[in-house]
């Protein structure tokens, strides 16, 4: 083990916790403030008179629920398809020799850095022509394209670590090729695929530029876009409490995923980033 933890490390630990959690606690606190309290101005951190009214309002708000449904649907479909395509590509890159391998990796890198906003104009134009404007596929397709680079890299890094000889070893021991694949390779590859799926889901769940540009109604508008249009009846007095409540509701899935899979997410984020 490393050296004993000194006081500096303790202070650092506390600072990191405050840094990460303070704004989260703040919006949670805000979500319990009543409309009257925020309308009159409420600069103190905690609510004077905590209430659940905002949650009741938000969870019965049809527009918000539609956005939530769109967000889940679009993010899950995009994640599933992106991971399937990325798995095929990453398997080829990690295991096979073929021409154009470096080209594929460079293309993925270029697309990871692509300024999404510069596509908004042409995509807006094209999607209206193809009837994809304001539809689920209209967002699923670009989300897949923009998450493929991250998914391909993460999976390639994972697949390189898999001892593929074990597949042959299992076959020598009498397993059929399907059994060898099912019982040996799938369990080894699954954590990587799963990690790539989480990172992809985070991207699609978070995406904002395309979500506000390529949608126009609650039929396909996702949560981040819906939140930004959520002004309430009085535009000069935004419904702080309700916005905070909606923010808390959409952050819950993120927190659940992080709590369950923190180790995998960290491994995925840093995979291949440092290997020299």
């Amino acid at each position: 083990m490393k050296q004993r933890n000194n006081i500096g490390t303790w202070i650092g630990f506390v600072l990191i916790m405050v840094w990460c959690l303070l704004p989260v606690v703040w919006i949670i606190s805000l979500s319990f403030k009543s409309v009257e309290e925020t309308a009159g101005g409420s600069p103190q951190f905690l609510p004077k008179d905590p209430t659940l009214d905002n949650y009741r309002d938000i969870l019965s708000n049809g527009d918000f629920l539609a956005a939530l449904r769109n967000s889940f649907g679009i993010a899950l479909i995009a994640t599933f398809l992106a991971v399937v395509f990325a798995t095929l590509a990453a398997y080829a890159i990690a295991r096979l020799e073929f021409k154009g391998k470096r080209l594929v990796l460079s293309l993925a890198l270029a697309i990871a850095m692509f300024p999404v906003v510069s596509l908004v104009g042409p995509l807006f134009d094209m999607w209206r022509t193809f009837g994809l404007f304001n539809t689920w596929p209209g967002l699923v397709i670009p989300y897949m394209s923009f998450t493929l680079p991250l998914a391909i890299w993460t999976l390639t890094a994972f697949f390189r670590e898999i001892p593929w000889e074990m597949e042959q070893a299992a076959q020598v021991d009498g397993a059929t090729s399907w059994q060898a694949f099912r019982k040996v390779i799938v369990p080894l590859a699954a954590p990587g695929v799963f990690t790539a799926a989480i990172l992809t889901f985070f991207f699609a769940w978070n995406e904002f530029v395309l979500a506000i540009s390529l949608t126009s109604t609650t039929g396909s508008r996702t949560v981040p876009a819906q939140l930004s249009y959520f002004v309430g009846p009085d535009p000069f007095n935004p419904p702080y409490g309700q916005l905070a409540t909606a923010s808390v509701v959409v952050t819950v899935p993120i927190i659940v995923i992080v709590l369950l899979f923190q180790r995998k997410i960290v491994a995925g984020l840093t995979s291949g980033a440092v290997k020299g």
Partner: protein
């Protein structure tokens, strides 16, 4: 364009010499990557060419019949407009400041996480929350925190008047935007740096300590040079990400108080003004500036991405 680009070139001479097995492997490999490549090009290369084409026209979506070819006039309109340069300056400033601050704080966080021997799961979970949270939510949380009537920042900071309006002036508004950006993305930086830090050999540090190197010397002569690759990858990714800043500005100020970024300007021209001609010229310029930026960072800091990504 997509069809020719998506099919990797068949080099017949090499293929003839290669054995059947490697030929089959070559074909299988290309087949497996083809769907991903087609998808990536479909949504980027094709629209980008479309933007290049549209940028040569005076084209407003509300008056499609008035579309006329104007050559490079849209580009000169953009490049001679002071608003474009103001927004470019804002974007570069936000990028430089946020990445520099994140590098310092992220490194401090990484050092703490590296040395902490208790509650590793707790700290890892906490640091992933800002990373995973929706940027729009982060922007709202900070907008409300800095809000005049409902924010806690004014009452918590001793040197700020209680009635100070953060969104009433250029610099305070820029500050608030940067706080939200830094809060959300420092964890990503910290995790990449932590991965780099764990590659620095403990033996080397021990040896430097025995030789009488101070903490400061060990940091600058041993730790930092040995995690250079990780630092450069983190800086490259974060810089390009910060350069595209949009969500925070959209939610917090909508570009008021001259806080607009190049991305926001492009969005406004295309979606709000439906000026597809000028908007496309901006899109092309934005794309070219990202390419230039990536090239500059890779050249200046000599980032070896292939090596860093394990492609050696």
């Amino acid at each position: 364009m997509t069809t020719t680009l998506s099919r990797p070139p068949a080099d017949t001479k090499v293929a003839d010499r290669a054995s059947d097995r490697s030929k089959a492997e070559n074909r299988l490999g290309q087949k497996l990557v083809a769907p991903a490549v087609v998808l990536m090009l479909l949504v980027t290369a094709w629209p980008m060419l479309q933007a290049l084409y549209l940028s040569l026209f005076n084209y407003r979506l509300t008056a499609p019949d008035d579309r006329e070819f104007v050559g490079l006039a849209n580009y000169s309109t953009v490049l001679t407009d002071s608003l474009f340069w103001q927004d470019m300056w804002n974007t570069v400033l936000i990028m430089v400041v946020t990445v520099a601050v994140e590098l310092v704080i992220g490194f401090a966080f990484a050092m703490v996480m590296h040395r902490v021997i208790f509650a590793r799961g707790v700290i890892r979970t906490s640091i992933l929350i800002p990373y995973g949270i929706i940027t729009v939510v982060s922007a709202f949380a900070w907008q409300f925190a800095f809000s005049l009537n409902n924010g806690f920042v004014n009452s918590w900071l001793p040197f700020v008047e209680d009635n100070f309006n953060w969104f009433g002036d250029h610099w305070p508004a820029m500050f608030a935007i940067m706080v939200s950006e830094i809060w959300k993305t420092t964890p990503f930086m910290a995790l990449l740096l932590l991965a780099g830090l764990s590659q620095v050999s403990e033996d080397m540090l021990e040896a430097a300590k025995v030789d009488g190197a101070t903490w400061w010397q060990r940091l600058w002569k041993v730790i930092l040079p040995n995690m250079r690759a990780a630092i450069m990858v983190a800086v490259l990714f974060r810089a390009l990400d910060a350069y595209r800043i949009f969500d925070n500005i959209f939610v917090m100020t909508r570009g008021a108080q001259e806080t607009e970024s190049v991305s926001f300007l492009t969005y406004r021209q295309v979606i709000e003004q439906v000026q597809l001609g000028v908007g496309s010229a901006l899109s092309v310029l934005l794309f070219l500036s990202v390419l230039l930026l990536a090239w500059l960072i890779v050249k200046l800091f000599r980032v070896d991405l292939a090596q860093a990504r394990g492609e050696g």
